[in-house]
């Protein structure tokens, strides 16, 4: 379970590669040349792989928050900034989002679950950046994701020189 602003969310542990403190990312972060999405301004490199850094509060249209952790996802090139990691919990049931919900939440969530008598949305790892959003990012920043590892090295070098 993680939280952003005043809200709690669940994401399956199997879809998270790594959880890091934002402080520990440091020089592994590269600014996007052309940030076409408000919620994505950086790329982070971890273990020779690169990930678009998605601002959690901007993704969910929440008020400005203070992220302290980053969830590096497994099957998608996405790292999500979140305010806090709350706890590990066992999700026994995944209920479909009622059809009355017809907005962006249909992309954001796999469904809803009940944890400790609370209803909590289950984030869809593929919902943080849709295929279309990934395509736009790649189109505007061609090859950046693949070469971010090198860019990180270069950027470190640049900083050292400055």
């Amino acid at each position: 379970m993680f939280s952003i602003s005043d809200y709690c969310f669940v994401i399956s542990a199997s879809s998270v590669q790594e959880i890091r403190s934002t402080d520990s990312l440091g020089g592994n972060v590269v600014d996007l040349d052309r940030p076409v999405l408000q919620k994505v301004r950086h790329i982070v490199e971890r273990d020779s792989r690169s990930y678009y850094v998605v601002s959690g509060y901007e993704h969910f249209h929440l008020p400005l928050s203070r992220p302290t952790s980053v969830l590096i996802l497994r099957a998608v090139p996405v790292a999500v900034l979140v305010d806090r990691i709350e706890e590990m919990a066992e999700m026994r049931v995944l209920l479909g989002l009622p059809r009355s919900f017809c907005g962006e939440e249909r992309v954001w969530y796999r469904g809803l679950t009940v944890l400790g008598r609370k209803v909590v949305p289950v984030a869809d790892p593929r919902g943080f950046l849709t295929a279309e959003e990934l395509r736009r990012l790649e189109e505007e920043n061609p090859g950046l994701l693949q070469t971010a590892g090198h860019a990180v090295g270069a950027s470190r070098h640049e900083r050292e020189r400055v």
Partner: protein, 156 residues
């Protein structure tokens, strides 16, 4: 809900949404529930205030307040559960209501073509109650979500 209807005349449920008393046809109403907790999470669907848990099922909470009375409904423990048809499948939703709901019978006088989401009117001992077309109310209120103002004229 108060009983007291005849099978021979149509029945309606009169409910209070915000400051307004309105009616819905009885057929679409399932039950009145008390639920202590409204769960909220980020979403972008107009009029949906969150969800409540009812017997292990999750019911979306549909606030008619903005469209009917011009403002979100005040916090409440009571919800009228109605059945909607969404994509040709039924789905139960909970409408926040203030105070008791009343089951009444009467003949509805249809609204004119320009009635918006008012399907007609009921005369309850001299008080004029507007009967909503729920799906139209949802559609019109959602379309006007950036410009919510009281859309119904006081008739009583």
């Amino acid at each position: 809900m108060n009983a007291g209807t005849s099978n021979l005349v149509p029945a309606f449920v009169v409910l209070q949404v915000g400051t307004r008393r309105i009616a819905l046809p009885r057929e679409g109403v399932a039950e009145l529930i008390a639920s202590p907790l409204l769960f909220t999470f980020p979403h972008t669907t107009p009029l949906i205030a969150g969800v409540v848990l009812r017997r292990g099922r999750i019911l979306p909470v549909l606030d008619l307040g903005p469209g009917v009375s011009g403002a979100p409904s005040p916090s409440t423990r009571f919800f009228l559960v109605v059945e909607r048809q969404i994509s040709n499948a039924p789905e139960k939703c909970a409408i926040p209501v203030q105070g008791a709901c009343e089951l009444v019978s009467g003949i509805m006088l249809p609204a004119g073509d320009d009635g918006g989401f008012v399907a007609g009117h009921l005369d309850l001992n001299g008080e004029q109650i507007q009967v909503l077309d729920l799906e139209k109310a949802i559609a019109i209120s959602a379309a006007n979500k950036d410009n919510w103002v009281p859309e119904l004229e006081e008739l009583s």
